[in-house]
């Protein structure tokens, strides 16, 4: 009953169903477009990645990921601070409350927002009544709706690491600073912020890399005008206008960005958990 023997089935399963397919994607990005794919070497897929429409989508995806990160930070940081300051029992309950939506089917959450943001939905009607949107206009199927959905969905991913970092902080350092004459603001800037910063960064990276690869939310809520990378990739694999090598190339690109982000995240994780 050697450990390697026990691990072998699971690891080979992953090799066949995960590692090999990913290598296939890489190989496919150098293949030729066909029905759906011809295994002949070609750089046409990678050339298409450098075309303006694709670059536009990539920059937009990057931009949206950054905006999502900023949005979740603005909403999540104060919330994390509030939660971390509660007594332990309330803290656990509040954190569970914040994390619970992650358990739900993402389609359900998306549908809930679509109902609200449609021009006939509760929020949609309110926006028109308040004059924010013109008569008959709606927020649904725009980039703004995608952004809202993404901030909503990724908020727990920002709150949790920040809260953890705040919990692990030694508040006596702040006490000591106060004894030495520091004001609340000075303590915040020179003591709390530097210690909490890895938690904030970890949350930020987590949200960023997930936002880069997100597909369901922008696909259903964002409409076709402000397309993001995930949607573009899926379009390349479906239907008449499919272009599998191009979709593969785009996926490789997105994965590279996400892997880079993940490596930074792991480095930060080590710093928080010390």
């Amino acid at each position: 009953m050697s450990p390697r023997l026990l691990l072998f089935p699971a690891l080979s399963w992953l090799a066949v169903l995960f590692a090999a397919p990913l290598l296939l994607v890489l190989a496919a990005s150098f293949a030729q477009r066909g029905l759906p794919l011809e295994w002949a070497f070609s750089l046409e897929a990678w050339r298409s990645v450098l075309e303006p429409p694709v670059l536009k989508v990539l920059t937009r995806t990057l931009w949206f990921a950054l905006l999502t990160m900023a949005g979740t930070l603005m909403l999540g940081a104060p919330l994390a601070w509030f939660i971390a300051r509660r007594p332990v029992k309330t803290r656990r309950m509040l954190l569970a409350l914040v994390l619970l939506p992650l358990i739900a089917n993402s389609l359900v959450l998306v549908y809930a927002w679509m109902n609200l943001l449609d021009r006939q939905g509760l929020a949609g009607r309110a926006l028109i009544a308040l004059g924010v949107l013109p008569e008959g206009g709606q927020m649904l199927y725009t980039g703004a709706a995608s952004l809202l959905g993404m901030v909503y969905y990724f908020l727990p991913f920002m709150v949790y690491p920040i809260c953890m970092a705040l919990e692990k902080m030694d508040w006596r350092l702040v006490e000591a600073a106060a004894d030495l004459g520091a004001s609340g603001r000075q303590s915040l800037r020179h003591i709390v912020l530097p210690l909490v910063w890895p938690g904030v960064a970890a949350g930020g990276i987590l949200v960023f890399i997930q936002a880069m690869g997100t597909f369901v939310i922008p696909d259903l809520m964002g409409g076709s005008k402000d397309m993001l990378a995930g949607t573009m990739i899926s379009h390349r694999f479906v239907g008449q206008a499919s272009h599998w090598p191009a979709g593969a190339a785009l996926s490789v690109l997105i994965m590279l960005v996400m892997t880079a982000g993940l490596l930074v995240y792991f480095k930060l994780q080590h710093r928080i958990l010390k």
Partner: protein, 274 residues
């Protein structure tokens, strides 16, 4: 957590307001969705009086019932594979002396890759390499990848508290590998395995992207059908379906989490037994 002084001790009114608003933001869309599933109207965005007819209609929806059958089949098959491979891997991993971290990282990778990349990688595998095309088997295999990782994750956590000297003692008394597994490992391990199984069932039932990429005619799962319905129309019937999906997630996943947390607390760490 000891109380920090001055500016940092008080919880300003705006912080309380902000936190309350955030929680409202997280739960209001879902609450609206559930409420309107009982609306007696053609549109899910207009309230028309209370009725339970939509739930009754769901029970007679042939397409949905078939999709439910597919979902359950895939969840059961993938979890079955996941339980076997994941449990073996968890035990093997706990018994490893070298390269523990590397193996753990490898087993966690599929859970961190973007779903759309896994989905199209698998589509590539099953269309161009195995040439089976879409269908229930590829879908079950795709979900089994995730199942193996989830079972490994939860059972592995359970194994961290296992006292290997019990195995040594059993061996000294002449027990064979199978007996050790049945009488010593399994009784300790089963809550972790059960938790991992529940988690992978919940994930499989909710999973949309992989399922939609690999599904063919007649093999749609519930999330795939839901996505189709969401794109077409906003009716209370869809709300009712969404509410049911929510109920399933809310029931299954916390049960799995409880089993996981129980695994972390139940047994004393090795070295404290007589």
């Amino acid at each position: 957590m000891n109380a920090p002084p001055g500016l940092l001790t008080r919880t300003p009114a705006w912080l309380r307001l902000h936190s309350a608003a955030c929680v409202l933001f997280l739960y209001l869309p879902v609450a609206v969705l559930v409420v309107f599933s009982f609306s007696d109207s053609a549109s899910s965005m207009v309230w028309g009086g209370f009725t339970g007819e939509w739930y009754a209609k769901l029970a007679q929806n042939e397409r949905l019932l078939r999709a439910l059958g597919n979902s359950l089949t895939i969840a059961a098959a993938s979890t079955g594979v996941g339980v076997v491979l994941g449990t073996l891997a968890a035990v093997g991993h706990a018994a490893l002396r070298k390269r523990r971290d590397a193996v753990e990282a490898a087993m966690m990778l599929p859970l961190m890759a973007p779903d759309i990349v896994i989905a199209l990688a698998l589509k590539l595998l099953f269309v161009k390499v195995f040439v089976t095309g879409p269908g229930l088997l590829p879908m079950a295999l795709g979900h089994s990848l995730l199942a193996v990782c989830y079972v490994f994750l939860v059972a592995g956590t359970r194994m961290k508290r296992f006292d290997w000297r019990l195995v040594e003692a059993a061996r000294d008394l002449g027990a064979g590998g199978g007996q050790v597994f049945r009488h010593i490992l399994l009784p300790h391990l089963w809550p972790g395995v059960a938790g991992g199984a529940l988690l992978s069932i919940a994930v499989s039932l909710d999973e949309y992207v992989i399922a939609s990429f690999l599904s063919g005619p007649g093999t749609a799962t519930v999330p795939v059908e839901v996505a189709g319905m969401i794109r077409r129309t906003f009716t209370p019937e869809v709300n009712a379906l969404a509410t049911l999906l929510l109920a399933v997630s809310v029931l299954l996943a916390p049960a799995a989490l409880l089993l996981w947390r129980g695994s972390r607390r139940a047994m004393p760490p090795p070295g404290q037994n007589a």
